[in-house]
């Protein structure tokens, strides 16, 4: 990672701020921290950051209000939520509200590191799009959005409900753009139960990072795409069709759909 990337960490616990700062600094990042979301917002008005790490459960202003405030002020800086296990539902909700990712507490050094790495990459893709817009360049494609009828969880994973009530799930192209070259993928067993917002696959990249793919729906896995074991590049080549990952019988589709965004809405 380049040295001049600046990140902002917001958490009401000093020990978390210290731990995250320690890791990020060691990775060569410039870290700013704040234990209050309101004063962090003030910082954002006169400083530009590549990435914000923000806790959800905080006194006074919580993570959701922070995300709303950011949207109101049209601040595009990507936000990764860091949150306790008790709030997996909240985490999914935060993705819906515009956060790009979340890391459940307690996390290891590796887990945090891979999330920060994805966040920084996301920032760059975003910047690239803005630059292209600025230059009125319509030819450069930085990532491919999914088919309109597909639905996505944040910008991480997608889900397509087939007619027989089976959901196909996979990783979005934007997610794959934010990680380095894939070298391996670890999948769950058939018949395993997955929960929306919980990790359903580990993607190992050539920079030795492990990236968790968060499942867009909850349910029971009935089929895995064994082809991606043979050709891991299938995922990046055709992320929305040949590069699917699981077929799942959803356990609570109605509830899960609440926090999914149709790709169709991206094209408007």
């Amino acid at each position: 990672m380049t040295k001049d990337e600046k990140i902002l960490v917001i958490d009401d616990e000093q020990v978390i701020l210290n731990a995250v700062s320690r890791i990020a600094t060691a990775e060569g990042l410039n870290v700013d921290s704040d234990n209050d979301a309101a004063s962090a917002l003030k910082k954002l008005s006169h400083k530009e950051y590549s990435l914000i790490l923000c806790d959800i459960m905080m006194p006074q202003m919580d993570g959701f209000i922070f995300l709303d405030e950011m949207q109101k002020r049209k601040i595009l800086t990507p936000v990764i939520m860091i949150t306790g296990y008790s709030t997996v539902e909240n985490a999914v909700k935060s993705l819906y509200k515009g956060a790009i990712d979340f890391v459940p507490k307690p996390f290891t050094f590796e887990e945090l590191n891979s999330a920060i790495s994805r966040g920084i990459k996301f920032y760059r893709v975003q910047k690239g799009i803005e630059d292209a817009k600025f230059r009125n360049d319509k030819t450069s494609i930085l990532y491919v959005p999914g088919p309109p009828k597909y639905k996505r969880l944040g910008n991480l994973s997608w889900m397509n409900l087939q007619s027989e009530g089976i959901a196909v799930i996979g990783a979005t192209d934007l997610f794959l753009e934010t990680i380095e070259k894939l070298v391996n993928i670890e999948l769950m067993e058939i018949d395993a139960e997955i929960i929306q917002g919980d990790s359903c696959a580990n993607l190992v990249t050539d920079d030795e990072l492990i990236h968790r793919l968060l499942s867009p729906v909850g349910g029971r896995i009935i089929e895995r795409n064994e082809k991606i074991f043979k050709d891991i590049n299938l995922l990046e080549k055709d992320p929305y069709f040949a590069g699917w990952i699981y077929k799942v019988i959803p356990s609570n589709m109605e509830y899960d759909l609440k926090y999914l965004v149709p790709f169709a809405s991206d094209r408007m």
Binding site: V15, V20, Y85, P106, E189
Partner: protein, 626 residues
């Protein structure tokens, strides 16, 4: 005030009403009976008097014809000797007494206004013919208080009379004289009085006895049950839902008592469930709070240790750091599993060796046990196949049970044993229905009514306009169903989905045991379930699992020779926050264990005897698919 209260009592009102009616009826009956007896006795006296009168007339007839008055006197006097005969007299047409058993009256004129003459001479004109009943009269005698029955017998002129030698009576005379017999009614009156007395005594005794009997039975059949019901209502009113009305018999009040018991039972169940879900909700809140608090320090430990592990070059320190990272990761799994339980989410299952998990758990508590000199026996069956379990959760189960056991046993004399083995069980009586849907795909599962701690299957029943529900036992073959209404036969019985009312009755078949109606629903993805609706019949069929045949289970027994669990505590030990350890425990351990085992499709049971020890038996299915 007390009197007023007494009069408002239903039993007193009843006794008073019945008493008054009884007294009325018995009084009327007694009065009529006395009347009848009096009439009967009088008519007997009358018949006697009449016969006597006829006898006198007939026996004096001859002496009259012969005009032998001394003989007539003799006859009359002889007959007058008869006890109870007051006087016999004959007077002629003018009213002069010609014969009398009391000689002093002979020759006297009878006062026509006197009572004895009144019958014929009411209109001053003597009657010639007198009906029988009018010849009698009863009057009070002048001498004493006794009554007198007088009977007059007119002596009519006959051919023999006017043809007699004496020629006293001319042929045109119709009535020659009157024979008057006076009978004293002293004896009859005495009899009447005594029979009146008997009747009154009988009536009084009957009224008293009847009142007593009515009183006793009203007390027994009405006052006592009503008091019991009032008492029970007050008890329930104060919140004691465990109050049970003892058997009040099979009459309407008995049925009321039974339905009252049924109602309080239902109320108690509902309250327990409310209590339970309340507990679960508060536990969920507590767990979420605890997790959030504990996650921050755990995050610091995990990030710093994993960061150090990445940077350290000293292999010795690296090993130590690995332990810290591993154990911190385990802590986060424990925190997560607590939350998973609160949220009832699914375990992370992978193929694992159950014996290895048991051994790991034993290794964790081993130190604690050897410090207390508690003996631990391990008897694990080898060659148990790997099967899908959440190792972390399962290890937590065994550690918890072992720690509980070590807390229960005495130092030095304590012994704990852990055993595992494979057993084969038929699905009948063990397998639980976890999902059931009607033909319109509505879930029939009912979380509110749990049977043996498991959500039941709720169906709607309608019979003869009465509507109710049945909660079926989710365990195949156990039949601990809870019927909300009474069904006597399955005729005209509708069984339907509580949500959409679609019928769940299989019209084409009937119970092979008792021919009652059969309900049927789908258990996705395990085929069709059928059962007999008759509460007395236990027929059920689940072809899908029956065809799969017996299933293999791993049975894990953890026993101790400790203090044991009180019998009344046993049904509650798996409830959240239920702890017998006082301040020592949170009361979450066994509730979490139960949740974990349930999430593995397994069962956990406990047997315990005070002073002898406790055994927990866990059954985990090895083949998951069936």
């Amino acid at each position: 005030m007390k009197l007023k209260q007494a009069f408002t009592k239903i039993s007193l009102k009843l006794i008073l009403t019945v008493g008054v009616v009884t007294i009325g009826i018995i009084s009327v009956y007694s009065f009529l009976s006395i009347q009848a007896q009096r009439n009967e006795l009088l008519s007997q006296a009358e018949i006697y008097a009449n016969k006597l009168s006829e006898t006198i007339r007939n026996s004096t007839h001859l002496s009259m014809l012969e005009n032998r008055s001394d003989q007539t006197h003799n006859i009359i006097n002889t007959i007058a000797q008869e006890p109870g005969l007051q006087e016999i007299r004959i007077f002629n047409k003018e009213g002069r007494i010609i014969f009398s058993s009391q000689k002093e009256f002979i020759g006297e004129m009878v006062d026509q206004k006197a009572e004895a003459c009144y019958a014929c001479h009411t209109a001053n004109e003597p009657l010639e013919r007198l009906p029988m009943e009018d010849r009698m009269r009863i009057y009070d005698s002048a001498q004493d208080s006794s009554r007198i029955l007088g009977i007059i017998n007119p002596i009519y002129n006959e051919q023999s009379c006017w043809e007699a030698d004496c020629h006293v009576h001319p042929a045109e005379q119709k009535v020659l004289g009157v024979l008057d017999v006076k009978l004293s009614l002293k004896d009859v009156d005495a009899q009447i009085v005594s029979s009146e007395f008997r009747s009154i005594v009988f009536a009084v005794i009957a009224i008293a006895l009847l009142s007593l009997i009515i009183g006793i039975f009203v007390r027994k059949w009405i006052e006592k049950p009503v008091n019991e019901l009032v008492n029970a209502t007050e008890q329930v009113g104060t919140g004691n839902l465990n109050y049970v009305i003892k058997d009040l018999g099979s009459d309407e009040l008995g049925l009321l008592g039974k339905s009252f018991n049924n109602m309080t039972q239902k109320l108690a169940d509902a309250r327990l469930q409310l209590f339970q879900s309340d507990k679960m909700a508060s536990m969920g809140r507590l767990a979420a709070g605890v997790a959030h608090e504990i996650n921050n320090p755990l995050t610091a430990v995990l990030t710093y240790s994993s960061f150090l592990l990445k940077r350290v070059n000293n292999p010795e320190i690296e090993e130590d750091l690995k332990v810290i990272v591993r154990e911190t990761k385990r802590s986060r799994e424990i925190v997560k599993s607590l939350l998973d339980f609160a949220r009832q989410s699914v375990p992370k299952k992978s193929n694992a060796n159950i014996n290895e998990i048991i051994s790991n758990a034993v290794a964790v508590v081993d130190n604690q046990l050897s410090m207390k000199h508690i003996k631990l026996d391990k008897n694990l069956e080898e060659n148990i196949p790997l099967f899908k379990i959440d190792s972390n959760q399962m290890q937590q189960v065994f550690i918890n049970l072992l720690v509980n056991a070590s807390d229960a046993v005495q130092e030095r004399s304590g012994a704990i044993s852990v055993a595992s083995r494979i057993i084969s069980l038929t699905p009948y009586g063990t397998l639980q229905i976890k999902n059931a849907v009607c033909s319109k795909r509505h879930s029939l599962m009912n979380e509110e009514m749990k049977i043996d701690g498991k959500p039941s299957i709720k169906l709607k029943l309608v019979q003869n306009g009465k509507e109710g529900f049945v909660n079926l036992d989710p365990t195949y073959g156990k039949n601990r169903d809870k019927y909300g209404i009474e069904i006597k036969s399955s005729e005209q019985l509708q069984i339907s989905c509580p949500k959409c009312n679609i019928s769940v009755v299989d019209k084409d078949s009937s119970c092979p045991k008792c021919k009652s109606a059969v309900y049927t629903f789908e258990v996705p993805p395990r085929g069709i379930f059928e059962g007999c609706i008759n509460p007395q019949c236990d027929w059920q069929r689940w072809s899908f699992v029956d065809e799969a045949g017996v299933r293999d289970y791993v049975e894990i027994k953890i026993s101790d020779n400790g203090s044991g669990i009180e019998k009344e505590d046993l049904p509650r030990i798996f409830e959240p926050f239920y702890s017998t350890k006082g301040q020592k425990g949170t009361g979450l351990g066994l509730a979490v264990i139960w949740g974990i085992i349930d999430n593995h499709d397994g069962t956990i049971n406990v047997e315990s005897e005070i002073g002898k020890g406790t055994t927990f038996t866990i059954l985990l299915p090895i083949s998951q698919s069936a």
